[in-house]
């Protein structure tokens, strides 16, 4: 099958700014198998004089003419998926992700972030992105390798929830901030409304597990994503598959709870996919599931578990 590639360049009429909305109309509809190219902008509520020289006319347009509601992320979309119905599963495969600009920024502010007690003030720095060398740096001695991914993507939440803030991760995806979602990874979302209504943004040039200070290397990204609709499949919360690992997620304001959710998701998956009895699955989690702190800064925190696909090469 050959398809044209759809494009969404973020501007004031092609984004949802700060929210996911089950009542939003799609920009367009695509079929399973189709590819969409997105040009995203980092979330900014205002543009000061330092930033004004760098930002695109589209980002200026969004900040001046767009309507921000609830959160701060600028999300390209929604994209409707033809034939998607509540109860289906939407797979979104990351085909290409690259930095759009030669700048990004990092910011923390009072009352938020991993250590609000220690950093009770606001600070924002502009960070240079060196696309040739694939690193970023600011006025320190360190050069950090880029590993770009979209921090925030998902389908529309259930209709009865109405608009939800883009700040938190949830069963619809949202602000997962999972640094494993790089090129080659497929993320699977439960579908809650007809058309699924997928949105994506919040480009991160790089990020550590935890996203300690509140934000990552916030930057514009260019991405190509491919959609696959799975009928006769079901999911309660998103999961993912990279070239090497199955990735399970838990979201909760308390990490201790999020970690339990991940182990439960993993045990359920091992039963459904590989028919591994739950006692053995629990032991396998203890021996081989790597639990990582996804982020501690989105109100609803995240833990994810990585389970190597190589363990199952004799079973599949």
């Amino acid at each position: 099958m050959e398809f044209g590639i759809h494009k969404i360049i973020a501007n004031s009429s092609s984004v949802q700014w700060g929210y996911y909305d089950p009542e939003a109309k799609p920009l367009f509809n695509v079929s399973s198998g189709e590819i969409v190219e997105v040009f995203t902008e980092p979330g900014m509520r205002e543009i000061d004089s330092e930033m004004k020289e760098m930002v695109s006319s589209e980002l200026l347009d969004i900040v001046e003419n767009g309507k921000r509601i609830l959160g701060g992320h600028i999300l390209n979309g929604p994209i409707g998926i033809k034939d998607a119905l509540a109860g289906d599963v939407l797979e979104v495969k990351m085909l290409e992700i690259r930095p759009r600009y030669n700048w990004g920024f990092n910011r923390f502010r009072p009352l938020y972030g991993g250590l609000p007690e220690d950093f009770p003030y606001e600070r924002r720095i502009v960070i240079d992105i060196d696309k040739e060398s694939n690193v970023c740096h600011w006025n320190t001695e360190v050069a950090i390798p880029l590993s770009p991914f979209f921090g925030n993507m998902g389908v529309a939440p259930p209709l009865k929830m109405g608009k939800v803030p883009s700040t938190v991760p949830g069963p619809w995806g949202g602000n997962m901030d999972n640094k494993e979602f790089t090129v080659g990874t497929s993320v699977f979302f439960p579908v809650f409304i007809d058309g699924a209504q997928f949105s994506i943004g919040d480009g991160h040039g790089c990020q550590g597990d935890g996203e300690s200070c509140l934000s990552a290397l916030e930057c514009g990204l260019v991405g190509k994503v491919q959609f696959f609709l799975h009928k006769n499949s079901n999911l309660d919360i998103p999961m993912a598959e990279s070239s090497t690992d199955f990735i399970f997620m838990g979201f909760d304001p308390i990490l201790d709870n999020a970690v339990k959710d991940v182990i439960r998701e993993t045990i359920k998956f091992l039963d459904e996919r590989f028919q591994i009895p739950k006692d053995d699955a629990y032991t396998l989690c203890s021996l081989s599931l790597n639990l990582r702190v996804t982020q501690i800064v989105n109100g609803t925190k995240g833990v994810h578990g990585l389970l190597s696909k190589s363990l199952f090469k004799d079973l599949t």
């Binding site: 509140l214 201790d256 629990y282 639990l291 990582r292 363990l311």
Partner: protein
């Protein structure tokens, strides 16, 4: 720079606790190396494993009562020249699996999901040293990557006898799967001689140690000890070939993550002369927070700072 050997038996172990008042079973000099042959096991497995259980382990069961915790700790080793306030550098030279068996168990009220698994279960696991894999008949074989879950110095004398179960300032049950050969771990010293003990071999384990056990098994570990008078630390820190590792221990993971983060920022400020604001940003961009374990009462988060960015 002598090389010593300690083979765990009933004369040189303490079972389930750390205690600064224990008499040393070996005294070494600064710079010396010790090869530890450790045991792991449960009395109830002897009848299943039969002749696979070493005579030393049988003697341990015969002559010792288990303390507060489960870990059979070999030691303590007195390091000449080590004084309270110094730092003990422990350099892991080698770790090998000792036996062709290990086990994994869970039980009610403990582990990561006590609500879902309110019963006991133990599986004996075949360990194939040559192929580097382990198998307990579940259809899945897991790769071996041995490390010691529990090692450290004696706690402050005022603590008396403490359980071997939680990780703490003296090390203890850190269960950190990164502590493979090539890693150096630095412990604050609370007593003259440091009084180092080791046990709780794990054939492999995931970050989190979800059900409360790794592959529990006897290991052979070669460790070099150095007394560092030039360092001051409050919590153990580690260095692998690729990363600096900082640890937080707390009953609540959210707090453990903050402790690990603060330890990382302190290091960046004090050792790399970074401004705290830049250090905080650097953590957000390049430091990975991982769940070490959720099953030792005091849970663990460790922060991985890559050396390559400097």
């Amino acid at each position: 720079m002598s090389k010593h050997e300690l083979i765990a038996d009933h004369t040189n172990i303490h079972w389930g606790f750390y205690d600064a008042s224990l008499s040393p079973v070996l005294t070494i000099d600064d710079g010396d190396t010790v090869v530890f042959y450790t045991e792991s096991g449960r009395k109830d497995l002897v009848s299943i494993l039969e002749e696979k259980v070493s005579s030393q382990l049988r003697n341990i069961f015969l002559h010792h009562e288990q303390g507060f915790g489960a870990h059979i700790m070999t030691g303590p080793v007195f390091i000449n020249g080590a004084k309270e306030g110094d730092v003990l550098e422990v350099n892991i030279k080698d770790i090998q699996v000792r036996y062709d068996w290990g086990y994994n168990g869970f039980r009610p009220l403990v582990g990561g999901l006590p609500e879902d698994f309110p019963y006991s279960r133990v599986v004996v696991i075949d360990v194939d040293k040559d192929k580097g894999i382990a198998d307990w008949g579940a259809g899945v074989k897991v790769p071996i990557r041995p490390f010691f879950g529990n090692f450290g110095v004696a706690p402050p004398r005022s603590y008396g006898k403490v359980p071997s179960t939680p990780p703490a300032a003296w090390g203890g049950n850190t269960d950190n799967k990164e502590f493979v050969p090539g890693t150096k771990i630095f412990f604050p010293i609370f007593n003259d001689g440091a009084l180092f003990s080791i046990g709780d071999g794990h054939g492999c384990q995931g970050d989190g140690e979800a059900n409360i056990n790794g592959i529990e098994m006897g290991l052979v570990g070669t460790f070099e000890f150095k007394v560092r008078k030039d360092l001051t630390i409050n919590l153990p820190i580690a260095q692998t070939e690729t990363h600096h590792i900082f640890m937080g221990f707390d009953p609540i993971l959210d707090n453990a993550a903050k402790i690990a983060l603060r330890e990382t920022i302190d290091f960046l400020v004090n050792s790399k002369e970074m401004h705290p604001d830049d250090a905080y940003t650097l953590c957000s961009l390049a430091v990975d927070l991982r769940v070490t374990q959720i099953v030792n009462g005091f849970k663990g988060v460790h922060a991985m700072l890559p050396k390559s960015i400097f």
